[in-house]
């Protein structure tokens, strides 16, 4: 029940974030979506994800306010509305179709298939010596996922620095 209330709140806030004209109000509405997601993680009993979501959301709001508010953003309103609407509707239809078929195959909520996770629950403490099973699975059993995550972050740092470097930005008239 609380989860549905939070989901409705998140949908309302994200619609507000898209539709509002003022940029700083839009950023505040976006951060409300992130706060709702953090509460949803807490209700679903995932404190690891809740902490990470809250902290990343704070960093995101600071970067958005500092980096984008004072810039002029080009806003294109006219032209090609028919093509845009039709392509949006087609993509929504494709997504809903595939989502329906794939959601039918999933086990129902709260009753996961326990073949792999039984093994994790039974042997993880003896094999690795860590109590927190979530961080143990992400860092030890599924260590290559964490490696790919680190690679993505490293690529992001290099790419941002390459785009915003000072040399090479000489404009000639």
């Amino acid at each position: 029940m609380e989860l549905h209330l939070i989901l409705i709140f998140m949908i309302c806030a994200s619609i507000m974030a898209v539709e509002i004209k003022d940029l700083i109000s839009s950023v505040i509405a976006l951060s409300a979506v992130g706060l709702g997601l953090c509460l949803a993680f807490l209700i679903l009993k995932a404190p690891n994800l809740a902490i990470t979501q809250l902290v990343v959301e704070i960093l995101l709001v600071v970067i958005l306010i500092q980096a984008t508010i004072k810039r002029d953003l080009p806003l294109i309103k006219d032209g090609r509305w028919l093509f845009n609407t039709v392509s949006t509707l087609v993509f929504i239809a494709v997504f809903l179709t595939f989502g329906y078929f794939s959601l039918k195959e999933l086990p129902s909520f709260g009753q996961p298939t326990m073949r792999v996770s039984q093994d994790y629950l039974a042997n993880s403490l003896a094999q690795t010596g860590s109590v927190n099973i979530v961080s143990l699975i992400t860092l030890n059993f599924r260590g290559f996922d964490a490696l790919a995550e680190v690679a993505v972050l490293f690529t992001a740092v290099i790419a941002v620095l390459a785009i915003t470097r000072k040399t090479g930005k000489v404009y000639e008239k």
Binding site: I51, I63, V131, N132, S135, V150, L153
Partner: protein, 135 residues
């Protein structure tokens, strides 16, 4: 701290001086207890980066850039990435390693330094290069 015209007002500076150490210690605590309770390398690293960003927003960019510049951040990011690569590929060599706490620490260094460098690039360097382009 000597130059009062840079950064925000004196109230913000005083509160920042009191709180930034607590935020830093909380981030390190989140990292170090990541294998016992909720938390972990990513969240703790972001909190450490947030304490640096807090310091920079209050005191201006020169106070922080004197201690933690772009070269040092890039060095920390690359070094931590290489160490994590060694940790996670070392599982090919032998048995299941007991390295959750070590991976947490390395990931926190990587995430803290990397996100702070991204913040520097997006907020400080873009402003400088745009001003340089206008001249």
């Amino acid at each position: 701290m000597k130059n009062d015209t840079v950064g925000m007002s004196i109230i913000v500076k005083t509160v920042t001086r009191l709180t930034v150490g607590l935020i830093l210690i909380y981030g390190i605590y989140i990292v170090l207890q990541g294998h016992i309770g909720p938390g972990g390398g990513f969240a703790g690293g972001v909190i450490v980066a947030l304490s640096l960003i807090h310091l920079m927003l209050a005191f201006g960019k020169d106070e922080v850039l004197a201690k933690f510049n772009k070269a040092r951040g890039l060095f920390l990011t690359s070094f931590a990435a290489i160490v994590f690569l060694l940790i996670s590929t070392s599982r090919f060599l032998g048995r299941q390693s007991k390295s959750v706490a070590l991976s947490d620490i390395v990931i926190s260094v990587m995430v803290g330094a990397g996100l702070f460098v991204i913040f520097l690039a997006l907020v400080v360097f873009i402003k400088d290069s745009l001003e340089g382009a206008k001249k």
